[in-house]
C-alpha cells in the first residue's frame, strides 16, 4: 500500500500541475491567436473587425446560428468516426473520401430509386453508412491481411474517391443528371427530390435540419458505447495495448476491422446528411466534400478523441466556417480560417505534451533516487 500512496501526487502538487496546465493552455492558445492576428494585420485590416464579422456570420446575423448547426452536424459525425478509430488504435484519415462515397450512395438512392420518401431517406442514409464503411473497409483489408498501414491507404483512397465522384457525375448509368435541359449537367448529379430532404426545424427565424440532432444522439451513443459496453471496452483495450488485448482474447482483427469500418461509416453518414441537408443544392459534384472530412478530423483531434468534447469543438469549427462567409466584407481572404483552425489544433497539442514530458522526467528522477 505504501507504494500506492507514494505514486499518487499530493493535493498541493496536483493543484500546482493543474495551474501549470492552465498557464500552458493560455500561452499556447494565445500564441495561436496572436499569429492569426498578425496575419490579419498583414493585410492591413483590424482583427477586431474580422472577429466581429466572424461572430456575425456564425451566430449574430439573422438565421446564422441555424446555418452553423447545419454545418456542425457532418463535422461532428466525421469526428465521431475518427474518435472510434483512434480509441481502437487506428488512424483513419481518409474521411474526405469516405464522406464522398456516402454522399454518392445517398444521391444514387435518392435519384435512381423510387418509393415513399421516408423509406428512401432512411435507406439512403443506411447505404451511405455502408458505402463509407466499405471504403474504409478496403483499408481494413489491406491492414489486416497484408499489414499495409491504414494511415497511408486511407489517405490514398481519398484521391481515388475524388476521381470516382468525378467519374460518377459524368456517367449516365451512375449519377449523371439525365435531364437534358440543365446546362450544368456535366458536372453535377440530379438534385434529390423534395420528399427525400432531411426534415427542417425552424426556431426564432433560424432553420436547421435534423442532421444535428442525429449527430448529437450518435455522440451520446458513441460516448456510452465506448465506456459502458463490452465492445467499447475491447476496442479501447486494443487501442491501449494490442498485446494485452490479444492475450485476454480480444479478436484483434475483427474488432479492429469493425472499428475502422464504423469509422468510415460515420463519415459516409456525414456525407449523406450533407446531401440531404441541402449542401451544394442537394446535388453531388466532384468538389462536394468541401474539406468537411479534413475539418471533422481536426475536430476529433481538438477534442482529444473524446466524443462529448467533440460537440463544442464541432460547433467551434462550424462557426469559423460559417463566419468566414462574412469575411469578404472586411477584405480578408476566408482562407485565414483554415490557418486559424490548424493553429488551434497545433496549439492544443503542446500543453499535454509538455506536461507528459515533465511527468516522465519527475518519474525518472524519482526512480533514480530510490
Amino acid at each position: 500500500m505504501t507504494s500506492r500512496t507514494r505514486s499518487l501526487p499530493s493535493l498541493s502538487a496536483r493543484n500546482r500541475s493543474g495551474m501549470e496546465m492552465a498557464v500552458l493552455y493560455v500561452l499556447s492558445l494565445g500564441g495561436a491567436v496572436l499569429i492569426s492576428g498578425a496575419l490579419v494585420a498583414l493585410t492591413g485590416n483590424s482583427w477586431l473587425r474580422v472577429f466581429g464579422a466572424l461572430m456575425d456570420g456564425a451566430f449574430l446575423a439573422p438565421g446564422r446560428w441555424g446555418e452553423t448547426l447545419v454545418v456542425a452536424a457532418p463535422m461532428l459525425l466525421v469526428a465521431l468516426g475518427m474518435v472510434i478509430g483512434v480509441k481502437a488504435g487506428f488512424f483513419n484519415i481518409g474521411q474526405e473520401g469516405q464522406l464522398l462515397m456516402g454522399a454518392m450512395a445517398m444521391a444514387w438512392v435518392g435519384t435512381r430509386l423510387s418509393g415513399p420518401g421516408p423509406v428512401l431517406l432512411i435507406g439512403g442514409l443506411a447505404l451511405a453508412v455502408v458505402a463509407g464503411g466499405g471504403w474504409a473497409g478496403v483499408a481494413a483489408v489491406m491492414r489486416f491481411r497484408r499489414g499495409v498501414p491504414e494511415v497511408i491507404s486511407t489517405l490514398l483512397l481519398v484521391f481515388v474517391a475524388l476521381q470516382v465522384s468525378g467519374f460518377a457525375v459524368t456517367t449516365d448509368w451512375l449519377l449523371r443528371d439525365l435531364d437534358q435541359n440543365r446546362p450544368s449537367r456535366a458536372v453535377a448529379s440530379a438534385a434529390l427530390p423534395d420528399n427525400i430532404h432531411l426534415p427542417v426545424i425552424r426556431i426564432f427565424g433560424n432553420e436547421f435540419n435534423i442532421g444535428i440532432i442525429l449527430a448529437l444522439l450518435l455522440a451520446g451513443l458513441v460516448a456510452f458505447g465506448l465506456v459502458r459496453t463490452v465492445w467499447g471496452f475491447r476496442l479501447r483495450m486494443l487501442g491501449h495495448n494490442p498485446n494485452v488485448a490479444q492475450k485476454v482474447g480480444v479478436a484483434s482483427t475483427r474488432t479492429g476491422a469493425a472499428a475502422l469500418c464504423l469509422s468510415g461509416g460515420l463519415a459516409g453518414l456525414a456525407g449523406a446528411v450533407m446531401l440531404a441537408g441541402g449542401s451544394s443544392g442537394f446535388r453531388v459534384t466532384s468538389g462536394f466534400a468541401q474539406n468537411f472530412g479534413w475539418q471533422g478530423l481536426l475536430v476529433a483531434l481538438l477534442a482529444r478523441s473524446r466524443p462529448l468534447a467533440a460537440i463544442p469543438m464541432a460547433i467551434l469549427f462550424a462557426a469559423l466556417r460559417t463566419g468566414s462567409g462574412f469575411l469578404a466584407a472586411t477584405g480578408v481572404d476566408r482562407k485565414i480560417v483554415d490557418v486559424v483552425q490548424a493553429l488551434l489544433v497545433l496549439a492544443l497539442l503542446i500543453p499535454p505534451a509538455i506536461q507528459f514530458i515533465r511527468q516522465r522526467r519527475r518519474a525518472l528522477a524519482q526512480a533514480g533516487e530510490e
Binding site: R146, V148, P149, L156, V160, Q163, S286, V339, L346, I357
Partner: protein, 311 residues
C-alpha cells in the same frame, strides 16, 4: 484492340513521354529520397506533403522578388525545412503523435499558402532547359534524362549523396539504428529523438527542393493544388521500394511514368476516361502496397515513438 495497342506503342516509344515521366517522377523522387531517410530513422513523415507545398510557395515568392531561380530554390529549401522543423520538434521533442502533427502541418501549410498567395500573388517562370552535350544524344532516354530544365539535375547528385549519408557515414548508421532498435541505440549513447529530428529535417530540405523544382523547373506557375496529394504518393514510393534506395527511385519513376501516360493519352488522340486515369497512380500504389508490403522488412521501429523508459 489493334488500334489501341498501336497507340500504346506510339506512346511508349515517344521521347516526350519519357521526358514528362522524368519530370513527374523526379518531383516524386526528391520527396521520396527525403522520406526514405525519415522512415529509416523510424518516422512516417506525412508532413512531406506540407514541405513540398511550402517549398513550392516560398520558392515562387523568392523568385518573384529576386528573379533568380537559385534563390528560389534556396527559399524552397527554407520553406520545406520550416515545416520539417515543426514536425520534428512537435513529434520527437514534445512527443505528440507524429500523424496528428503531420496532418495538422499539412492543413496549416495549405491554408497559409492559399491565404498568402491571395495577398502576394507571386509570379514564377520556368527555368531554362539545358541540354547536356553527348549524354542528351542517347536515343529515347538521353533527352528525357539530360535535356531538362537545370533544377532537374539537382536530383542526380542527391541520389549518391543520400546513399552515402545513409550507408557510409556514422550519422547514417545511427539513423538506421534508431529506426531499427531505438532502445539499443539509446543505451549505446545515441540521442534517438535527435537523430530522428535530423532525419526529418533532411527530408524537409529535399522536399523543399522538390517543391521549388515543381514550380521553377516544371510547371512555371504556383497553384495551391499543385502538389495535390503527391507527397503521399512519395510515401507510397518508399513502401513500394521496400526501404531501399534503388527501389524507392524505381517506385518514383514508375509512378511518374503512370502519370505521364495519363497525360500523353489524350494528346495522341485517344480518349480514355480522364477521371479514372487520374486515379490510376493512386490505385496502382494501393495495389502495389497490397501485393508487396510484407515481402520487404520495414524499419522495425517505424512509426513508433521513442520515450526513454517506456517499453
Amino acid at each position: 484492340m489493334g488500334g489501341f495497342l498501336a497507340a500504346l506503342w506510339d506512346i511508349f516509344s515517344s521521347p516526350t513521354m519519357y521526358g514528362s515521366a522524368v519530370r513527374l517522377g523526379g518531383f516524386l523522387a526528391f520527396a521520396a529520397l527525403g522520406e526514405l531517410v525519415a522512415e529509416k530513422a523510424g518516422t512516417i513523415n506525412i508532413s512531406v506533403e506540407g514541405s513540398l507545398l511550402a517549398g513550392a510557395f516560398t520558392g515562387t515568392v523568392a523568385f518573384d522578388m529576386t528573379n533568380s531561380t537559385v534563390l528560389g530554390l534556396l527559399a524552397g529549401i527554407a520553406g520545406g525545412l520550416i515545416v520539417a522543423l515543426i514536425q520534428a520538434n512537435m513529434s520527437h521533442r514534445l512527443t505528440a503523435d507524429q500523424f496528428v502533427v503531420g496532418l495538422t502541418a499539412n492543413v496549416l501549410v495549405l491554408g497559409l499558402a492559399g491565404f498568402l498567395n491571395g495577398i502576394l500573388d507571386p509570379m514564377a517562370r520556368r527555368a531554362a532547359v539545358i541540354e547536356i552535350p553527348l549524354l542528351s544524344d542517347i536515343p529515347l532516354i538521353g533527352p528525357a534524362l539530360f535535356g531538362q530544365t537545370w533544377p532537374t539535375y539537382l536530383l542526380y547528385p542527391l541520389i549518391p549523396l543520400t546513399w552515402w549519408l545513409l550507408y557510409r557515414t556514422r550519422w547514417g548508421l545511427e539513423v538506421r539504428a534508431v529506426g531499427e532498435n531505438p532502445q539499443a541505440a539509446d543505451v549505446s549513447g545515441i540521442d534517438v529523438n535527435k537523430r530522428r529530428r535530423q532525419a526529418i529535417c533532411y527530408g524537409g530540405v529535399l522536399a523543399g527542393i522538390g517543391g521549388a523544382f515543381l514550380v521553377l523547373g516544371q510547371v512555371g506557375t504556383f497553384d495551391t493544388g499543385a502538389v495535390g496529394g503527391r507527397g503521399f504518393i512519395a510515401i507510397a514510393a518508399v513502401y513500394f521500394g521496400g526501404w531501399r534506395l534503388g527501389g524507392v527511385l524505381l517506385g518514383s519513376f514508375l509512378f511518374g511514368l503512370a502519370d505521364a501516360f495519363r497525360l500523353a493519352l489524350p494528346v495522341l488522340g485517344y480518349q480514355l476516361n480522364a477521371q479514372l486515369l487520374a486515379a490510376l497512380p493512386y490505385v496502382l500504389t494501393l495495389v502495389v502496397m497490397y501485393a508487396i508490403t510484407k515481402q520487404f522488412r520495414q524499419p522495425a521501429a517505424l512509426s513508433r515513438p521513442f520515450i526513454r523508459g517506456l517499453r
